[in-house]
Amino acid sequence: MEVFTQTIINGLVLASIYILVALGFALIFSVMQVLNFAHGSMYMAGAYVCYYWGFALGLPPWAAIAMSAVVLALFGVFLEKFCFRFLEKNFNRTLMFALALIVVMQTAADVTVGGYVKRVPSVLPGLTTIAGITMSKERLIACVIAVFLLLAVFFLIRKTTLGRQMRAVALDRDAASLQGINAHRIAALAFGLSAGLAAVAGGLMGSIISLNTYMGDTMLVKAITLVIIAGMGSIGGLFVSGLIVGLVDAILPIFIGGAGSEVVAFGFAILILVVRPQGLFGQEI
């Protein structure tokens, strides 16, 4: 029973981190029509920035995570304003730029900080017992923080003016502009928000696992898988697809070896693409 409960909680932790990352990826695609393949590198950079805020400057872990989110958000705004904005009409160039950005960010990290083992200090170290079941506090708090952020973003998108503007730009950029919405400003804010979310996810996971400069690659693949299953443009659907993939990743490796759980998750995504290309919750293409 304890093992089962721990596994489910672990699945929820993984799901919440995956959703945080995928949400940013989906947001950029919705608002800017850009497949930002460098999003995994934002997650990685966020983890490393968090580490340095925490260790080099001695900030408490929660402050380090918050500061890394701010730094990466500003970086995201910079990228949109000075890079992606000039490429937005050309899908191929945007794609190439994103791929080049991955190489630049990973190599920069390798050259500067990559060689030595690091882990983000834990927000809440130690173990706790709930209903007789021992759990890691840092995993629990990671789940709580991620869920809180997800709900906050969901509220932002659904209930605020900014969120409505984002949805308007995502639906029809030109029409939104005609309504007086500054589409570039919205895109920059979306990019910043997306990068900030990835940074928080990186900081939270960086305390659970150790850092490495390639940790973003796996997370990018998870984000894409979630978006495919949920459907492009379906922010709410990410919650369901995140739960599916998170629980698969937490449960299946216990029973099957190798990359079996990856096969199941990818297989499901392929099935969705074949049977329902718009995703479980997306709009018809």
Partner: protein, 409 residues
């Protein structure tokens, strides 16, 4: 008149003495000339500078370059009266088989090296082997995971100067039995890199010889981020001890941490060479012990560390700002290659390889070594020296416990 002649003679003598002395004194120009007289032996360094293995192999590369500096400072080696200095040429194997093949080809065909130091992961070593063996290039591996393709009777130019997994399993289990006599069952966890079935069988045999039962072997893919599911699988078999065989700190630490968070309090020895300080840093001092590894202490005041190890630690700290224990690995490879070349008094790699196999003794940072492995690998291309038992104490401090001599038949 006579006084004048004496003064003139004295003056002339003085001038002659001055000229002779100045000719005998080494001048900077002469030193430059001496170095210019020395020829260069290029040593290729096949290391992962990118990809998941870079976290370890970058330090192997650094260690190899430190050894090259050290050898050159000592004047290099002499072959048939001709001085030779060393030069390192680094190529990135990108932590992939394709990258390893491409890097090996660049080293062999572009840089024309005849001696290579590196690498570690089985599929990387296996990918590079056809290139280096065909070109008769001597390669000193970081590590061998005992898959038959890495080292066998046909790999005549491939050597293993560092202790690796097979040497580590027995001593780790011996210490387990010594310190925890009540332990009866072990659960093994190892990377899924092609060596897991071989290592599982070796571990099973070594465990049985010591009265232990291996209840499960769990293999994890190299891109595993979260080890909770794998550790859940491991602990489901309810072992008395977890045996972490192979891997690296970024994996060992989360495995250990997950096990402790799931309530496992038993011993978790390692049959590998992970850095104990990094393990404590990543896992947390409350979660590590009881744990031991064949990684090494960094305490330069510890009399059990060899002078060479202390020299490497000091040099790394001076030149690189920080020591990493994989510096030992790269250093050992280059030093072994240099010793073999000098012993052979030849740059012909076939002569060097044959000589190396027959060397009665060879120096390593860990202590004196000898060539071995004929029965184990089908070829006597392995340097057997000794492995350290280094324990992490309950307070998080690291202590060198003892050296264990190893021999592979």
């Amino acid at each position: 008149m006579r006084m004048d002649r004496m003064k003139l003679s004295g003056g002339l003598l003085g001038i002659v003495v001055l000229i002779v002395v100045s000719l005998l004194l080494p001048s900077p120009a002469m030193a430059q000339q001496k170095k210019a007289d020395a020829k260069i032996i290029k040593i290729g360094i096949l290391a992962a500078l990118t990809g998941f293995a870079s976290a370890a192999e970058v330090h192997q590369k650094d260690g190899a370059l430190l050894a090259i500096d050290w050898l050159n400072e000592k004047g290099g080696i002499t072959i048939k009266g001709q001085k030779y200095l060393f030069e390192g040429v680094v190529e990135d194997n990108k932590s992939t088989a394709e990258g390893a093949k491409a890097a090996a080809e660049k080293l062999v065909y572009d840089h024309k090296v005849k001696f290579i130091a590196g690498a570690t992961i089985p599929y990387i070593n296996i990918a590079a082997a056809p290139v280096t063996e065909a070109a008769k290039v001597i390669r000193a591996l970081n590590y061998v995971c005992d898959t038959p393709e890495e080292l066998n009777a046909k790999t005549r130019y491939t050597f293993k100067p560092n202790p690796a997994i097979r040497e580590g399993i027995g001593p780790a289990l011996d210490y387990l039995v010594e310190k925890f006599p009540k332990v009866k069952t072990i659960a093994m966890i190892t990377p899924q890199d092609g060596a897991e079935s071989v290592l599982g069988a070796i571990c099973d045999k070594e465990a049985t010889q010591r009265g232990l039962k291996q209840v499960i072997v769990v293999a994890w893919p190299h891109d595993t981020a979260d080890f909770y599911p794998k550790v859940t699988q491991l602990l489901a078999s309810k072992p008395d001890a977890i045996f972490i065989v192979n891997g690296y700190e970024q994996a060992t630490a989360p495995i250990l941490k997950a096990a402790r968070e799931m309530g496992f309090k038993g011993p978790a020895p390692m049959g590998n060479y992970d850095d104990p300080y990094d393990i404590v840093k990543l896992t947390g001092k409350d979660y590590t012990a009881p744990f031991w590894t064949h990684g090494w202490s960094r305490d330069v005041n510890d009399p059990q560390l060899t002078p060479e190890m202390k020299e490497i630690i000091k040099r790394a700290e001076a030149k690189l700002g920080k020591f990493h224990q994989w510096n030992f690995w790269g250093w050992t490879e280059v030093w072994a290659i240099a010793q073999a070349i000098e012993k052979a008094q030849s740059l012909d790699t076939t002569v060097v390889a044959n000589t190396w196999r027959k060397m009665d003794s060879i120096k390593t940072p860990y202590g004196p070594g000898k060539m071995c492995g004929e029965k184990t690998y089908g070829i006597k291309n392995v340097v057997c020296s000794r492995v350290a038992i280094t324990e992490v104490l309950p307070d998080g401090n690291v202590k060198h416990i003892k050296w264990v001599n190893v021999n592979l038949p």
